[in-house]
């Protein structure tokens, strides 16, 4: 028995075993249960077929949540990919030498928890004329705004929170990618008379693509499953007219607050499908599959 356990054939399976158990118990079983639950009305303890799903199709609040999550994801993609890439290129250029200090400072927001970060931003976007962002408005002669009551202004607050937390990390991702590009490419280009901007567009952007695809993937994932940021900013899951409600926020509301577990599981599975679909489209468009085939 001991010999069996110690043999080179069996050892790999012993090493992998904790992962297999984890996958089965904590991923596969819950996902299957989620599928089963999504066909039930858990409170009444009965099977309802596709009722939960057909209800979702006509659920205006869910549509709102979907829209909010997509809007947020798009916003973070637009802000948290081009700008960090540009900043990283600048930090990586020969114009600037002492970059360690900047890199450290930019990383700091990633150390904070959502609870702390969200609370800081909620209070900076306070309604009173003395909150930081209303003071900034006052400098330009604009009267105080109820930031977290309006759809547009609260979306701005959410995006700013996301940018604050992740700009630095994304800069570091892109820096790592840029540093793996051989410098002689840039040298050759500048001998041929290419400007800094041309080098950025023709060399940096295409060669840093694997990093871009990675950042894109995690941003899609994080954007579509965002919940806590909004929960902290709006001090709970209930925002005026659901302006801050996200897919996961709706899942939480239905499953935890209203105890409609079946309905919430249907929301969860939709989220799973959406994340998978968006990622597939994204990988297809960026051509990652083709590269993998080479």
């Amino acid at each position: 028995m001991k010999k069996f356990f110690y043999s080179k054939k069996i050892a790999p399976y012993v090493f992998i075993c904790p992962f297999v158990i984890t996958v089965l118990l904590f991923w596969l079983v819950p996902i299957c249960n989620g599928v089963l639950l999504s066909f039930q009305d858990v409170l009444k303890n009965k099977w309802v077929g596709f009722d939960n799903y057909s209800r979702l199709l006509t659920d205006k609040v869910f549509r709102r949540a979907l829209w909010n999550s997509f809007k947020y994801m798009t916003g973070t993609l637009v802000l948290l990919i081009p700008f960090p890439l540009l900043f990283a290129t600048m930090l990586n250029s020969r114009w600037i030498k002492k970059t360690e200090f900047f890199k450290s400072v930019y990383f700091i927001p990633a150390l904070t928890s959502v609870v702390v970060a969200g609370t800081i931003f909620r209070l900076m976007f306070g309604e009173s004329a003395t909150s930081l962002f209303n003071q900034v408005l006052a400098v330009f002669g604009v009267s105080p705004v109820k930031w977290l009551k309006g759809a547009g202004t609260s979306f701005f607050a959410l995006l700013l929170l996301a940018c604050w937390r992740w700009t630095g990390v994304n800069i570091l991702y892109f820096l790592a990618g840029l540093q793996s590009i051989p410098t002689d490419l840039y040298e050759a280009a500048s001998i041929d008379g290419a400007s800094g901007w041309q080098q950025f567009v023709k060399i940096s952007v295409p060669l840093v693509k694997p990093t871009t695809v990675y950042v894109l993937t995690i941003s899609v994932y994080a954007g579509l499953s965002m919940f806590l940021e909004s929960n902290m900013l709006f001090k709970g899951n209930n925002s005026p007219n659901n302006i801050g409600l996200t897919i996961v926020g709706y899942l939480y509301r239905q499953g935890v607050e209203k105890r409609a577990l079946g309905y919430a599981c249907a929301v969860g599975l939709i989220l799973l499908l959406v994340v998978m679909a968006v990622n597939l489209i994204q990988l297809k468009v960026t051509g990652t599959f083709e590269e993998g085939r080479d």
Binding site: W27, W95, L111, G126, L251
Partner: protein, 280 residues
């Protein structure tokens, strides 16, 4: 334009832009820090801002934190113990699995590794509710086991260890076998000592995530004496009473341990965070 002047202008404007960005990024931290010297009631009334009104600023919040009647330090030490358990458990289990993937060729390896990558791309929120139901049917609610156990074999940590171990030549393991070491002995005696940098990076990353973890503990933990720091701080966010004093100074102190670790082990923070970005 003269070339060296142009260079200097570009360099100067780059430094200007990055200094501006650094100020902007540091601003919320600074605002939080100075707020910790202001009365909690002011925060509710005025919001967070840059005002430095020395007459109203004092150490009352800090006195409250260290000598007041509250559960803050209980949450703090709960978070520390939960973080330590999480980090130790995750490192042991995930390095074990990562080694399995890196050191052996076996039937089903490819399929299982695809599973690792697949799990990396599924948001926890998708399985959160069924998992919660399962945990409660196992009578594991309100326990730290339920917070830690599902994530000991942690996909991204496994992935990192596997990548790291791929660079260790298999001839080393072969040499161990010739010397008569068992498969597990090779891992513990030969490989683990080589993994120190990888362990450091993952300890920091997992430690930070455990310290800041909120959503899953929120579902699992019921009794207030088991609250972690993030859960506890969140209970202070209600407009009744003077909780904001403790909330702000408590927030400052919740960031401090991570901040000190960051100053000391900056390299590992960044390495751990960068782990997922596989270079093409």
């Amino acid at each position: 334009m003269n070339r060296s002047i142009k260079n200097r202008v570009v360099t100067g404007s780059f430094y200007f832009i990055f200094t501006l960005l650094a100020v902007g990024i540091f601003l919320p931290i600074w605002v939080l820090f100075i707020a910790s010297f202001k009365p909690g009631g002011d925060l509710l009334q005025y919001g967070l801002n840059l005002d430095l009104n020395c007459a109203r600023m004092n150490l009352d919040n800090y006195i409250l934190l260290f000598s007041g009647q509250h559960e803050y330090w209980k949450w703090f030490f709960n978070s520390i113990s939960l973080t330590v358990i999480t980090v130790l458990g995750t490192l042991i289990i995930s390095s074990f699995v990562g080694y399995g993937f890196a050191a052996y060729d076996f039937k089903g390896k490819k399929f299982l590794f695809i599973l690792v990558l697949l799990i990396l791309s599924i948001p926890l929120e998708v399985v959160m509710l069924p998992l919660y139901k399962q945990i409660s049917s196992w009578k594991m609610m309100d326990s730290y086991t339920a917070i830690v156990l599902p994530f000991l074999a942690h996909a991204s940590t496994i992935f990192f260890f596997r990548q790291y171990l791929l660079s260790i030549p298999r001839s080393l393991m072969e040499a161990g076998r010739i010397d008569g070491a068992t498969e597990y002995g090779i891992f513990y005696r030969l490989i683990v000592p080589l993994m120190k940098p990888a362990f450091s990076a993952m300890a920091i990353l997992n430690g930070m995530n455990a310290w800041n973890n909120y959503l899953w503990p929120l579902l699992v933990i019921r009794s207030s004496e088991k609250y972690t720091l993030t859960l506890g701080l969140n209970t202070l966010i209600n407009p009744y009473g003077d909780n904001y004093s403790l909330l702000i100074v408590g927030s400052v102190f919740s960031v401090i341990p991570i901040f000190l670790l960051f100053v000391a082990f900056q390299k590992y923070f960044i390495e751990g965070m960068m782990a997922g970005a596989v270079k093409g």
